[in-house]
């Protein structure tokens, strides 16, 4: 029994503590019924509705005394933006640059903005919600109060009665309390549903849509950057696994075969036994394995240049330049390595740029400059070709823009006809970039 009480108390405590701020107005409805009463949800929902009913009185008053409505709508919206906090929802951000000034033109402008009318709509809706919630609260709280008060009332000689039946013995009192608890849970859920609905309406009407979209976009970009990071890590892992596994074993096999060949040669020299056949076989086995190592190596290089992983962007670009059929010059003031995702993206931008230059521009020279600045990284690629590159044509340049935008960078392509093509990319420093370096 004592154990059970302890467990219930612990769970109750845990229930109240583990309420996290979420963006979901209906989070309360996801709590299972046996835990529901131990969380803050029923109480905060009831509190939210009661506040709504209280606020409905002055609102109804200002609706009747019509000229007061806009002023009250303005004030009420300020309260409403914060009132959702009692439902553990984040404060609804106020749209920027909306200060009311009391001059004639100021008021005129204020009346013309959609925001004002959304606030007024929200204000008018408040009494309607109160109309639904006040009888619910009144009946529900009274009835529940009577149920829970029944033992005290019974002791005072005024027992709970329905018709002829009255609760005067312990058994029926326990029954009443049990019914009370079940009803309280049901009542809590109804209140949570109602308050959640009201919070959604408030949020839709009062939030700044643009900032909400912006926040979502930021979240999306973060997800994408972590996606590139994940791909990058995966490539590195495959490369490492191939290096530590098959490549080492195959190199070991070539070595063992070489040692065996030497032993066979020694036997031949000592005893004169004819061993040319086995020796040839060993030699071809060595060749076969060497060949598969070559294949493996070129596959690994395609995965992710080792130089990029180990020495960083600039040496990797230099090597890339050496494999290209034109003269590539890389300059840089970088002293430190950049995050893997940035390095990988900038590297693939360079491969894309070179591919385009070689294919279309008839260039002989490409200059690549990587520069660390106060605000981030500036990356400029430039050729001496025939120009005319169009950012909207072909997937290559679009791919570049996409990669850069995932890092919240900007792309600028200038490619006049019969002039040199220049691609400039700025990537904000990691601190402004949504992930840690």
């Amino acid at each position: 029994m004592a154990l059970w009480v302890t467990v219930v108390c612990m769970r109750a405590l845990a229930g109240t503590i583990d309420v996290v701020k979420s963006d979901d107005p209906f989070a309360a409805l996801r709590v299972p019924p046996w835990r529901f009463l131990f969380t803050v949800w029923p109480w905060s929902s009831i509190f939210y509705l009661v506040c709504g009913v209280v606020l409905a009185f002055p609102t109804v008053f200002t609706i009747i005394v019509f000229p007061l409505l806009p002023g009250w709508a303005w004030a009420l919206s300020k309260i409403e933006r914060h009132r959702v906090r009692s439902l553990r929802l984040p404060v609804i951000p106020e749209p920027a640059g909306a200060r009311l000034d009391w001059s004639r033109s100021g008021i005129g402008l204020w009346l013309r903005t959609p925001r004002t009318w959304r606030e007024i709509t929200n204000t008018v809706l408040l009494p309607i919600f109160a109309l639904v919630s006040s009888p619910l609260l009144l009946v529900g709280l009274t009835f529940l109060g009577a149920l829970f008060a029944s033992p005290i009332m019974s002791a005072l000689g005024n027992p709970f009665r329905i018709g002829d039946w009255q609760a005067d013995d312990t058994g029926s009192l326990i029954l009443l309390i049990a019914i009370g608890i079940l009803l309280l849970i049901a009542f809590g859920y109804v209140c949570a549903l109602l308050s959640g609905a009201q919070a959604i309406v408030t949020r839709v009407l009062l939030s700044d849509r643009r900032s909400a979209l912006k926040r979502q976009l930021g979240l999306l970009a973060d997800t994408n950057v972590s996606l590139i990071d994940a791909f990058e890590l995966e490539r590195q892992r495959i490369e490492r696994d191939l290096h530590d596994g098959p490549q080492q074993h195959l190199a070991g096999a070539v070595m063992l075969l070489g040692m065996g060949k030497k032993e066979l040669e020694d036997i031949h020299a000592r005893t004169g036994v004819e061993l040319q056949g086995p020796l040839n076989r060993v030699r071809s086995a060595q060749e076969q394995i060497s060949h598969s190592l070559d294949t493996l190596r070129s596959a690994v290089t395609g995965l992710r240049p080792r130089v990029l992983t180990e020495l960083g962007l600039v040496p990797a670009l230099e090597e890339l330049g050496k494999t290209a059929p034109l003269w590539v010059q890389v300059t840089s003031n970088l002293k430190q390595r950049m995050p893997a995702a940035v390095e990988a993206s900038l590297y693939s931008v360079a491969t894309e740029f070179l591919a385009n230059t070689i294919k279309h521009a008839a260039a002989t020279k490409v200059l690549i400059n990587v520069e660390k600045t106060e605000s981030g990284i500036r990356y400029a690629l430039c050729d001496d070709g025939t120009g005319g590159a169009d950012a909207s044509a072909g997937t290559g340049l679009l791919g570049i823009q996409h990669r850069v935008s995932l890092l919240r960078g900007t792309t600028l392509l200038t490619s006049p006809l019969s002039g040199s093509t220049r691609l400039e990319i700025s990537i904000p420093a990691p601190a402004h970039n949504g992930y840690d370096a």
Partner: protein
Amino acid sequence: MRVGIAEDVSLLREGISAILAGAGHEILWAVSDADQLRARFSEAASAAAEPDVVVIDVRMPPGNMDDGLRAAVEIRAAHPGVGILVLSQYLGNEYARELLNTAPSSRGGTGYLLKERVGYLDEFLTSVDTVARGGVVIDSKVISHLMALPQKNTPLASLTVREMEVLRLVATGLTNAQIEQELFLSSPTVEKHVGSIFTKLGLHTDSGNRRVLAVLHYLGP
């Protein structure tokens, strides 16, 4: 000669030891990571206790990145007399270049071989000898990978086809005498080609080890 070995895969470490010991070399030590490698050099009381050649795997613990090469670069700077033969799985020339760049005029030789080359015992032992003598050996596969790349506006572009051929053989560690045999040329001809390569690359007698510098040119900017 005295050899040190740094290789994390025990099969290869023991195999290399056996091959070198079988060829009559003295194995001073064989370690399995870059830290132990550094420790062996800081422990060595005098140059006499140092190996003539160390065989180093590029990728080793603790970082499992290019730790071996980093250690090799440090050893090259602190002990310029020690020959360094680096083993790698990687076809690019960045590692070899970095090592050669550290001290182009150091007395110790430099080698860069793909790992499976160890299994071609004669070639491997010749390479170890060349590095011990202060020469440069670059794996022939790395060289042909380089050759497959287009030549651009470097001083190398001014070399004739024959001179490129000679330089390629210099890079794989051959002496003038061996180049004569390889290309069926007379000794004065080879000397003329080598001299012409040095001139075209702007390497004068006082530039230091001209063979190393020429190879460095060959490996890129």
